[in-house]
């Protein structure tokens, strides 16, 4: 068993073979190697394609078989010490090589290659890839990843703070109760903004934070800001990076609502689909809102980088203009808070190093968002 509490800097770990980013990297590297091999083996350019086909016909079955086995064995492999794990992966390479070679010989569809040569090449590739993932893990080591996360902490626009305080001051004399609520919202918002935001947080709390943020904006902007929430199938227990949505909403207000005197709608649609949590944010697109240039892409780039640090290739953010709306589409793997994950204080933020037990579950519907009643519509 892996020790729960580690005193030393974390020992090396095998890559997470269930992570999309890991799988993609292996696929690209192995197929790249096949191309290089084809160019070396065949002398003339017109023969390269044929040679590549020969290489791939042997290589691809082994690659797919091995990836499938690694996917299946991942939880067990992750519990082994690094050296044992690495030897096991090497042994698996040899086993897959032999199995596929035997299969090819039996089928007689394609001419089988030399077994020994295939095994040596397979082991070399396997070693190179393990070394690569080891280096990569070190580059993304918790210390460095956490330093980057720290630097990427979302910062709110200072205008927002001072304009909000002005709005609260304007309420003090005539509507002290509303002023109280506004100050409480402001306090909650800044509590999250100022805390250490490197650990994942439940989606439900992020949504609640966004609601408070938008309530403050509504105070300033009045009817100009209309908000539509669609949260019916939101998995409230999904773990997301803190402040993953709020900066995007701040952007939506700044670019979509503030440049116009007319009312505009910001819609927030969060749902669960295909094992992933999706969030689609829309705001009116102001083609002549060119006054607000500065920091246009900053918030989006910031969120995108934090997604990459937490989820690697499984977290994506895309933005586009659809008609007269600007749309940001966020996709994150569905990770639940589990006892394993929370009991391990050294749980790493980078997706490739996620502790076992936090891997997204695709079977079964996610929990319904229990706090749904608290989220106001409109």
């Amino acid at each position: 068993m892996r020790p729960i509490i580690r005193q030393n800097p974390s020992p090396p770990e095998l890559p997470d073979f269930r992570n999309l980013g890991t799988v993609l990297r292996i696929l690209v590297a192995v197929n790249g190697a096949a191309i290089v091999a084809a160019v070396i083996q065949a002398a003339r350019p017109e023969l390269w394609a044929g040679q590549l086909l020969d290489n791939i016909s042997v290589l691809e079955p082994q690659l797919i078989l091995q990836l499938a086995l690694l996917y299946a064995l991942q939880p067990w492999l992750a519990r082994q010490p690094y050296a044992t794990g690495a030897w096991l992966v090497a042994a698996l390479t040899v086993a897959c090589g032999i199995a596929v070679n035997a299969l090819i010989d039996a089928s007689q569809i394609v001419r089988g290659g030399d077994l020994l040569r295939a095994l040596v090449l397979g082991l070399l590739l396997c070693g190179a890839l393990l070394a690569y993932f080891r280096l990569r893990a070190r580059a993304l080591s918790p210390a460095i990843a956490e330093a980057r996360l720290q630097a990427l902490q979302a910062r709110i626009r200072p205008h927002f703070l001072f304009n909000s305080i002005t709005a609260v001051l304007s309420l003090v004399r005539n509507d002290p109760r509303q002023a109280e609520v506004a100050l409480e919202d402001l306090a909650d918002l800044f509590r999250v903004l100022m805390k250490d935001n490197r650990e994942l947080t439940p989606l439900a709390s992020e949504v609640e934070l966004c609601r408070q943020y938008l309530a403050l904006e509504k105070l300033r902007l009045g009817d100009r800001l209309q908000v539509e929430w669609h949260l019916n199938s939101m998995p409230g227990d999904a773990l997301v990076p803190p402040l993953v949505l709020q900066p995007l909403l701040e952007n939506a207000v700044y670019h979509g609502i503030e440049p116009s005197s007319e009312p505009g709608v910001i819609s927030i649609n969060i749902f669960f689909k295909g094992g992933d949590v999706h969030a689609i944010l829309r705001n009116p697109y102001q083609s002549n809102g060119g006054r607000h240039h500065g920091g246009n892409k900053m918030a989006i780039a910031n969120v995108r980088e934090r997604l990459a640090l937490h989820f690697d290739a499984e977290g994506t953010l895309a933005s586009k203009v659809v008609g007269n709306a600007y749309e940001v589409h966020l996709r994150m793997p569905y990770r639940q808070s589990s006892s394993t994950a929370t009991a391990d204080p050294n749980r790493r933020p980078a997706g490739a190093d996620a502790a076992p037990g936090t891997s997204p579950k695709s079977n079964g519907a996610p929990l319904r968002f229990v706090a749904n009643g608290k989220v106001s519509h409109g």
Binding site: P158, T166, S170, R220, P259, S260, S261
Partner: protein, 255 residues
């Protein structure tokens, strides 16, 4: 001696910010006679209100839809008695750093009553900002041009301008409806509005979006030249020899 009250106008796109300034101005009335003559949610509304009323001081936010505070300050100078402008802003504005401290007053939001009162007491001694000063600002381009007609300031939206033609002292602004006369430099307008307008002649800027096409015309002396045909107006404008590349450039874009 009874002093005439200071006539103040409030311009801010956020209703709470306007309400707060109103409260603070009320608090100041004990120390200084003043009257709030109008409230507007942006620069364009403010200019409309100022058709009817006169103001000594305009307190304006900087970031506003339709027309921001810096653009408003430029149009205010066209009024017969330009008011003093004091900007209210939530945070340090790069734009304001272009001013030296004595040339302009601005108030930080949330505004303090004492600071406001001090600024109000200074108003009779302050002069309106100069055009030269305002032009130095790294502000974005204006959304309106303002022209004075029968002592009224008329705003012409940039989107509606089909062409700008320099004639002797004035520039003629052509929209689909009518013409206006403006006292500015064509070169400065070209710099300010960049790619929106294209120069077809030494004395003429044409809105790219208004260009329908080009015609080859033969003049009285038998020399051929191009004329630009425009949407919304019947007249055509000559393209000078020096600017002939425009015909090819626009022609290619429209294909």
């Amino acid at each position: 001696m009874v002093e005439a009250p200071l006539r103040v106008m409030i311009v801010d796109d956020e209703a709470p910010a306007r309400r707060r300034l109103r409260e603070l101005l009320d608090d100041c009335t004990g120390a200084l006679p003043l009257a709030i003559v109008g409230e507007a949610a942006n620069g364009r509304e403010a200019m409309e209100i100022l058709h009817a009323v006169t103001s000594d001081l305009v307190l304006t936010d900087i970031h506003m839809p339709e027309m921001d505070g810096l653009e408003l300050a430029r149009h205010l100078l066209k009024l017969q008695q330009p008011p003093v402008v004091i900007f209210t802003t939530a945070f340090h504005e790069h734009a304001l750093q272009a001013f030296d401290v004595s040339a302009i007053d601005y108030l930080m939001k949330p505004v303090r009553m004492q600071r406001l009162l001090a600024a109000l007491q200074k108003v009779p001694r302050l002069k309106p900002l100069s055009v030269a000063k305002l032009e130095e600002l790294p502000a974005s381009s204006r959304r309106f041009l303002s022209v004075t007609e029968r002592s009224r300031v008329v705003l012409v939206p940039i989107d509606e301008i089909i062409y700008l033609k320099a004639e002797l002292k004035y520039i003629t602004i052509r929209t689909a409806q009518r013409e206006f006369l403006l006292e500015e430099s064509l070169t400065k307008l070209e710099e300010e509005f960049g790619p929106r307008f294209i120069r077809v002649h030494r004395n003429c800027l044409v809105a790219r979006e208004a260009i329908r096409g080009f015609e080859r015309c033969v003049g009285d002396e038998g020399d051929a030249h191009w004329e630009v045909v425009l949407n919304g107006v019947t007249e055509t404008l000559p393209v000078s020899r020096r600017q002939q590349y425009v015909v090819r450039e626009i022609g290619r874009e429209n294909q």
